[in-house]
């Protein structure tokens, strides 16, 4: 009862002053997100020439602009699916404490500390036509032909997997370890073999978390930029939407068009995220422990 008599709580009926703690964060959001976003939105509707929607019309009428949506999706979707698909079984294996769990987790997470550029540099040396991979394959007489894993679609995809995986893995690992292991043991006593324990217990309880991890990983992949230039073919198969925006802004100095492209980019991300989170509603969401206490 001592808490109820503290000065802050007696005033709670009118205005809770602890709410003021939100203020710095709110100001921050307003200054670095809301204002630039609204500014960009307005800018996109005030083109250099033509009507309000001229930038958007231009985007969807120009062949090397509107196609970037498909190009980016073709990179971001597989990268996200592969990352989530790989992270689930590995994280599931890592869910219980074991001597090697710490080591595997550390090794898998290391790439998160490397910047995109560093990864790109490493990949150029390793996967390049005269890189270590190519040389060792030739040395072992496994494959003698040239290897084309850089400066094309595959280079960018591999880099997205390397840089995106640790993030997805950590997210899913935290969801999996949050599920009470007693549930699986209860299922076992009721006759569920290890596969059924995963399918009936872990999988349904994980779906909301996986959807969340998917969304975050997708948004990250969709805004790919440095690796698309360094490891891809930025004029062709990996001309992603962020490259289009960059060219509009810093090569043609058309900030208005660049803003419009950025808005379209955000809108596509929003559609995918809204769809995935909408799907989540179909499944169970709630506590992941098995009872009181």
């Amino acid at each position: 009862m001592a808490r109820a008599t503290s000065p802050i709580h007696t005033r709670a009926a009118g205005f809770d002053r602890t709410l003021l703690l939100v203020l710095p964060a709110a100001m921050f959001m307003l200054l670095v997100f809301v204002y630039p976003f609204l500014h960009g939105l307005m800018l996109s509707f005030t083109p250099v020439e033509g009507g309000t929607l001229a930038n958007y019309v231009k985007f969807f009428a120009t062949d090397n602009l509107w196609t970037t949506i498909g190009t980016t999706l073709k990179l971001a979707m597989p990268a996200t699916l592969i990352n989530v698909g790989l992270a689930i079984p590995i994280a599931y294996q890592m869910r219980s404490k074991s001597p090697y769990q710490k080591w595997v987790t550390t090794i898998l997470v290391v790439p998160i500390t490397l910047g995109t550029v560093l990864i790109a540099e490493g990949m150029l040396t390793y996967f390049g036509p005269r890189g270590w991979l190519s040389q060792s394959l030739q040395f072992l007489h496994l494959y003698d032909g040239p290897i084309h894993l850089t400066h094309n679609y595959w280079g960018v995809l591999i880099s997205l997997i390397i840089s995106g995986f640790p993030f997805v893995f950590l997210l899913i690992l935290s969801y999996i370890t949050g599920i009470d292991p007693v549930l699986a043991r209860a299922a076992a006593t009721l006759g569920a073999d290890p596969w059924q324990q995963f399918k009936q217990i872990y999988w349904p309880l994980l779906i909301p978390g996986i959807a969340m991890a998917f969304c975050l990983a997708f948004v990250q992949s969709f805004s790919v930029f440095p690796s698309a230039i360094l490891l891809g073919a930025p004029q062709g198969p990996t001309r992603v939407i962020s490259i289009a925006a960059y060219e509009a802004a810093f090569e043609q100095y058309d900030y208005s068009l660049a803003s419009a492209i950025a808005m379209i980019m955000g809108f596509v991300q929003l559609i995918i995220v809204a769809f995935v989170l909408g799907m989540r509603k179909v499944f169970y969401r709630g506590p992941v422990s098995g009872g009181k206490g």
């Binding site: 043991r185 209860a186 299922a187 076992a188 006593t189 009721l190 009936q200 169970y284 009872g291 009181k292």
Partner: protein, 358 residues
């Protein structure tokens, strides 16, 4: 999976855990027990004594370090839990939070590949048995603690297991609900006659539910006997303490014979019943409720230092001239500071060898 059996045997079951410094500690040490079909067995002991370890070993959730477990002539300790087919009720119930009550209960039947109609029929019957009608489509999170508990029991018994294992199933409930569910568990056991092994640290629960009680402490089985025997004739001082013998007096043995011992020391002279062979020193164990306020055999004088009134009787703390503190349950309610004379019949003073002083 066996649907029925006549005996479950634990033969020198031992489970060790790694402890700090590379040592291993036996959480359960050489437990040997034979359970007959239809029996209700309680594993009783303080927390950390190894009783839950024993239950998990039987369920297959923990591997044995040594020993074996047998259902009649089939050895089962190498089987994974899903191949043993025992029903288990977990301490925190472990209900599947994403499944309705109906699906939770039907889970075991589904895993056994039973048809939808059979599952429906059996779930319906067991829902009636545990009195959960009308709650079939709720999620566990929407149920009260007592209802969750019933779902957990229903889920364990609907698969008609040869053996039901319960791990402190009532410890998360409030006192009133605990009494209700205790009666419920007793009734279900009477109706279905399923062999049950029940883990608890509550002596009242064990006494009221079980046909036989296994008292475990520090991983060792101390006594296996019917409730009445455990209550009246604890095999050793540890069991006595656990069964409510709150007064343990270490005294000198001045004479013994015919199963009786004469003890003296600290200003007292007591006659008691020998339970184990004695040395020079002995411990006399007496329940608070065995004392009588008034004159009689084994008289002890003391001063009332504290009174806890609890309705029908009071719990007194009486201190003797030599400074011994006695716990006494008394139907008369003396005032604090009053001088009283206590007595206790010699057959209710249980005499064990004194423990080596710590």
């Amino acid at each position: 999976m066996k649907q029925d059996f006549s005996q479950l045997r634990l033969d020198q079951v031992t489970r060790r855990f790694a402890a700090a410094g590379g040592q291993t500690v036996a959480a359960l040490d050489n437990m040997t027990l034979t359970v007959e079909r239809g029996e209700f067995i309680a594993l009783l002991g303080p927390s950390g004594c190894g009783k839950s370890t024993a239950l998990n070993c039987i369920a297959g959730l923990l591997a044995l370090s040594s020993g074996s477990i047998w259902l009649d002539d089939e050895r089962i300790d190498m089987l994974p839990p899903e191949k043993r087919g025992f029903g288990m009720v977990f301490q925190n119930y472990a209900l599947f939070p994403h499944m309705s009550v109906k699906r939770n209960i039907g889970f075991g039947l589904l895993m056994r590949g039973e048809s939808g109609a059979d599952i429906e029929r059996k779930v319906d019957a067991v829902v009636r048995l545990v009195q959960l009608r009308g709650h079939e489509d709720k999620l566990p999170g929407q149920l009260s603690g007592g209802q969750q508990q019933r779902v957990a029991i229903a889920r364990a018994i609907v698969i008609e297991p040869p053996l039901v294992l319960m791990d402190e199933p009532l410890s998360n409930l409030d006192a009133k609900l605990r009494l209700e569910m205790r009666a419920e568990i007793r009734r279900i056991h009477r109706d279905l006659g399923r062999t049950t092994i029940y883990v608890t640290h509550d002596q009242d629960e064990a006494l009221s539910l079980a046909d036989r009680i296994v008292v475990i402490k520090d991983g060792l089985v101390h006594q296996i006997a019917a409730p009445a025997e455990i209550y009246a004739q604890p095999a050793n001082l540890d069991v006595a303490r656990f069964m409510g013998y709150r007064n343990v007096l270490t005294l000198d043995v001045s004479a013994q014979g015919n199963g009786r011992a004469q003890l003296s020391g600290r200003g007292l002279s007591l006659q008691g019943t020998i339970k184990q062979p004695l040395g020079a020193k002995a411990a006399a164990a007496i329940r608070p409720e065995e004392f009588v306020v008034g004159d009689g055999p084994n008289g002890i004088d003391g001063k009332v230092e504290n009174v806890e009134y609890s309705g029908r009787d009071s719990l007194l703390e009486v201190v003797t001239a030599a400074g011994l503190r006695l716990h006494v349950r008394s139907a008369v309610h003396p005032a604090v500071g009053a001088q009283v004379r206590l007595s206790v019949p010699p057959e209710r003073v249980l005499v064990y060898p004194a423990e080596a002083s710590p």
